[in-house]
């Protein structure tokens, strides 16, 4: 037993649940993590990542010194990568390469960043500039990053991974209700009597919310309906499991709506008082009979009827969903079908009901709130709506008309527009698009078209390899700030350790970058003199009404759920009790849409991708922690019936290929997946699922189709494998 020097309360850096952590520190080493049993979000419960997944902080590969490429230090033009000798880090290889990483001081690195960003801006204007924020960084970090690109470079090419996870849900909720966050608080599920979980493997991706769900079923007698192509753990707790074929959500949920309407189970009073477009919507439902849905999805029509009746006749029915709904080329339509179910039955605007998109990252909600999105300023103010830009021009000391009113490029589009006449300079803070974008072979081609790439991160990950300058930032345990969790709770993040090496908190790096850019551009200052992150949040609160009542003093212990309209307001556990932000909830008639690629003779399987309990997204953190010891390698899940037909045994090496790429990995023969469906987790660079995924986008939300593409699998013998490429440096 060790007596800690200090115990620091903060918030977990992994998923969107936002569990309270207590970091026990001895000699600046975190050696134990606990959680207070009175914490409002997690009641002392943690999962493996929160409790044990922190030693990436001490990993020897963590970069704690600013790095620049040799050619930059020598003032040379950017040499073509392909022709240069192999780059090394640190740059002391026997053959010097212009692409060697050279350790330098902050002054040099920051000046180089400012020089080259300003040079490219002067040459090619706002459209050449772009940035990715980070759903792992704090609200304050993200706010500053978008402020730099909007206020200084006058571009809205600002986005982050929300585009890749819940853009479909956000667009659907915006169109139908006028807002986008979870309507209710996750723990309210304890008082729901029926709830639907769809497209979410909650046990692995929001483990603490899954505990609430299991308790609701086991202790409170709630009935759970799981709609998911995989036999996820929650199926063990479910009343009904609807194993639909990936990409057929619209049919299944519209068929449920069809049943609710035909059997008169809808809430007429609610529809009349709170919604619009019902009549026309009902006409569009005619074709969605349960038999039609059974035909396309494989879910028995009778189960669809039972699910519809259960949900519609519940006292408090709730819907929870994840990326299985949104990560489709029809992600918006898919999420709309869920909104329709809630509007039909009136299961919204009350405690323990609602529409609950479970947000993936610790701060994806907050980064979106902070306007790290190409269509919105902070506080979801459309950049192209009158009056909004003016507010921020005033806040940032910018001449009238100075801010761009044009919609910016989204995450996937920023890279696909890379090139001499498109995006030339990209600033990436804490994201790993070379793991998380779809169709990575194509993405690699895109990222190579950039003229200047700044990466601000902890490790040189698959994206950092392409950077010109690497700025070493600090992880959650080495900085102050706030995260906003999936149920809109703004919580305090506290530094438990001093920054390691020369690394610095993101907000400090960004202020220094901004001041240098501003000086070079000769603009009046937009304000970058902050002594503490609390001053940054105060700036947000002055302009964003939903955050108006949030101050660091008020969130010292438990955090506040926005909207918090003023300093006396207690926060908002559930939304829409009186009205929807757009007034009436809108029914939007839908046609049947499905995945862009469907199986054929050449690619007879549907490949779907997802996450594991033990790992986190692109793997930058967890694959550098002892979690990687617990779960060191990728696998593909295949159903026993399919495995037998293709001569595949459990543990065997197989090759999975799609029209875009192929990976070699082990097969896991399991009934966790359904017949005809393969599943590969997205975390493993050596068998990256996103080499295979389809980069087709939802036309409205611009979210790629990670959840369904056509694939083939066949056994592979080890001698057929080429050596694994690593290429970290």
């Amino acid at each position: 037993m060790i007596t800690p020097d200090r115990v620091v309360r903060t918030v977990c850096p992994y998923c969107g649940v936002g569990c309270a952590l207590e970091l026990h520190v001895k000699d600046d080493l975190i050696y134990r993590v606990t959680s207070p049993f009175d914490s409002v979000v997690n009641q002392g419960n943690l999962c493996v990542k929160g409790r044990f997944g922190y030693n990436f902080i001490y990993h020897p590969k963590r970069v704690t010194v600013p790095l620049v490429r040799r050619y930059l230090l020598e003032g040379q033009p950017r040499p073509p990568r392909a022709e240069a000798p192999q780059a090394s880090y640190p740059g002391n290889g026997s053959t010097p390469s212009p692409w060697d990483w050279i350790e330098t001081d902050w002054e040099t690195a920051l000046n180089l960043v400012a020089d080259h960003l300003v040079r490219i801006y002067r040459e090619s204007g706002p459209k050449a500039m772009a940035t990715y924020g980070s759903a792992k960084a704090t609200n304050e970090d993200n706010y500053l990053l978008q402020k730099i690109f909007r206020a200084l470079f006058r571009t809205n090419n600002v986005d982050h991974c929300t585009r890749l996870c819940h853009a479909g849900s956000v667009t659907a909720l915006m169109q139908s209700l006028g807002t986008s966050a979870m309507s209710n608080t996750a723990i309210e599920v304890l008082d729901s009597d029926v709830f639907i979980v769809t497209g979410s493997n909650t046990t692995e991706n929001h483990p603490i919310i899954a505990l609430h769900m299991k308790r609701a079923v086991r202790e409170r007698g709630a009935k759970l309906i799981v709609v998911d192509p995989r036999r996820i753990e929650l199926v063990d707790f479910a009343e009904l499991w609807l194993p639909l074929r990936p990409g057929t959500n619209v049919a299944v949920f519209s068929a449920m709506a069809h049943v609710i309407v035909k059997e008169g189970l809808y809430n007429r009073a609610f529809i009349e008082a709170r919604t619009e477009g019902f009549e026309e919507y009902v006409k569009s439902l005619e074709k969605f009979t349960p038999e039609f849905a059974e035909n396309v999805s494989g879910v028995p029509a009778e189960d669809i009827r039972r699910a519809a009746r259960l949900y519609a006749t519940a006292k408090n029915g709730a819907i929870f969903w994840g990326m299985g709904i949104s990560q489709l080329s029809h992600g918006t339509a898919s999420a709309l079908t869920l909104v329709h179910l809630a509007l039909l039955t009136g299961h919204i605007g009350r405690r323990s009901t609602g529409l609950n998109p479970l947000r993936g990252q610790n701060n994806v909600q907050g980064s979106s709130d902070m306007g790290v999105m190409p269509f919105h300023f902070p506080g979801y103010m459309r950049v192209d709506a009158p009056g909004n830009a003016e507010k921020w021009e005033k806040a940032w000391n910018i001449e009238p008309g100075g801010l761009s009113r044009e919609l910016g490029l989204t995450t996937t589009e920023i890279l696909s527009h890379a090139g001499p006449h498109g995006v030339r300079a990209l600033y990436i803070m804490g994201e790993n698009p070379m793991m998380t974008e779809p169709n990575l072979n194509k993405t690699r081609h895109h990222i190579e078209q950039l003229d200047f790439l700044v990466v601000q991160d902890l490790f040189i990950n698959e994206t950092g390899v392409y950077a010109d300058v690497f700025l070493p930032a600090t992880p959650f345990a080495e900085k102050d700030g706030t995260f906003t969790n999936t149920d809109r709770r703004v919580q305090r993040v506290r530094a438990a350790l001093p920054p390691r090496g020369q690394s610095r908190p993101d907000w400090q790096i960004l202020c220094d970058v901004a001041k240098r850019i501003e000086a070079r551009l000769g603009r009046p200052t937009a304000g970058w003199e902050y002594q503490h992150p609390s001053e940054i949040l105060a700036e947000v609160s002055r302009v964003v009404p939903e955050y108006a009542g949030i101050t660091y003093e008020r969130i010292e212990k438990d955090g506040l759920q926005y909207p918090v309209w003023d300093l006396k307001h207690p926060g908002t556990p559930f939304l829409f009790s009186e009205t929807f932000p757009r007034g009436r909830g809108r029914f939007i008639p839908l046609d049947y849409v499905t995945a862009a690629e469907t199986p054929d003779d050449e690619y007879p399987f549907i490949l779907t991708t997802g996450r594991l309990l033990e790992h986190w997204h692109g793997g930058t953190l967890t694959r550098h922690s002892s979690l990687d010891e617990l779960y060191p390698q990728a696998y593909v899940e295949i159903h026993p019936a399919d495995a037998e037909m293709h001569g595949i045994q459990d543990g065997m090496m197989v090759k999975v290929s799609t029209r875009r790429g192929e990976v070699a990995l082990r097969a896991h023969v399991t009934e966790k997946t359904t017949v005809g469906v393969l599943f590969i987790p997205m975390h493993f660079a050596e068998a990256a699922a996103n080499l295979l995924t389809n980069d087709v986008l939802d036309p409205q939300a611009r979210i790629p189709e990670y959840k369904a593409c056509a694939a083939q699998v066949f056994p592979l013998h080890e001698e057929m494998l080429s050596p694994l490429p690593r290429g970290r440096y």
């Binding site: 037993m1 134990r32 493996v48 409790r51």
Partner: protein
């Protein structure tokens, strides 16, 4: 508001709600009753008997963590009989378990003047540490069988059921089914068990390594 009534604890009249245990009522009124196996996040089972109190009219001492408060009860939490029972419980625990990393129990031993060598013929349990996963280490020499880990792994939070009792009597210990390594069980390594362990019998691997000067090896 549910039904309330009064009872007396140590001669003081206190109010209780139906369904509250004696422990809850006492703590609510600032009356201290020591506990070992009890944890607010887990189901109480009255296993360790540290919380026993004397209730007038009842032949045996009553475990306050599970006995519901009733109207007109007359409870003593500090009688000589209670004191002697608690002292003996602590001495028996100390005779077989390694309590070196259980500061709360050590404080109780001092408070009750418990003599750890009272039972010299008792055989301390020497069980080698089990280091079978990257997340935590199990040192069952320190285990006092409070059952918190078993319960939090099961229906008190996690619904995972990776561990349970095995063996009988003196040989009772917490174990996986068939003694399998933890990685071969249903364990999801949430470490909820580590979070509720009162004696450090369950310890994060990082702390275990730091004690030996090996952390953050191999990451230093």
């Amino acid at each position: 508001m549910s039904e309330t009534f009064t009872l007396s604890i140590n001669g003081i009249q206190v109010t209780a709600r139906k369904g509250q245990t004696l422990l809850e009522v006492a703590r609510k009124h600032g009356i201290d009753i020591p506990t070992i196996c009890y944890h607010p996040a887990t189901q109480s089972n009255g296993l360790c008997r540290m919380c026993v109190v004397e209730v007038e009219g009842m032949r045996l001492l009553q475990p306050a963590c599970v006995v519901p408060a009733q109207a007109e009860m007359k409870v003593r939490t500090d009688s000589p009989r209670v004191h002697r029972a608690r002292k003996t419980i602590l001495e028996m625990l100390a005779s077989t378990a390694d309590l070196s990393e259980a500061p709360e129990i050590q404080r109780m031993m001092q408070a009750y003047q418990a003599d750890p060598s009272r039972f010299p013929e008792a055989e301390p349990r020497h069980i080698p540490p089990i280091d079978d996963n990257p997340m935590y280490v199990r040192e069952y020499s320190k285990c006092i069988l409070c059952w918190r880990c078993v319960q939090i792994c099961a229906e008190d939070a996690q619904y995972t059921y990776a561990i349970n009792f095995s063996g009988r009597g003196y040989h009772t210990r917490i174990d996986t089914f068939y003694g399998l390594p933890m990685t071969a069980t249903t364990c999801v390594f949430c470490g909820q068990c580590v979070g509720v362990c009162p004696t450090d019998a369950l310890e994060p691997k990082s702390e275990y390594l730091l004690e030996q000067g090996k952390y953050p090896f191999p990451f230093r």
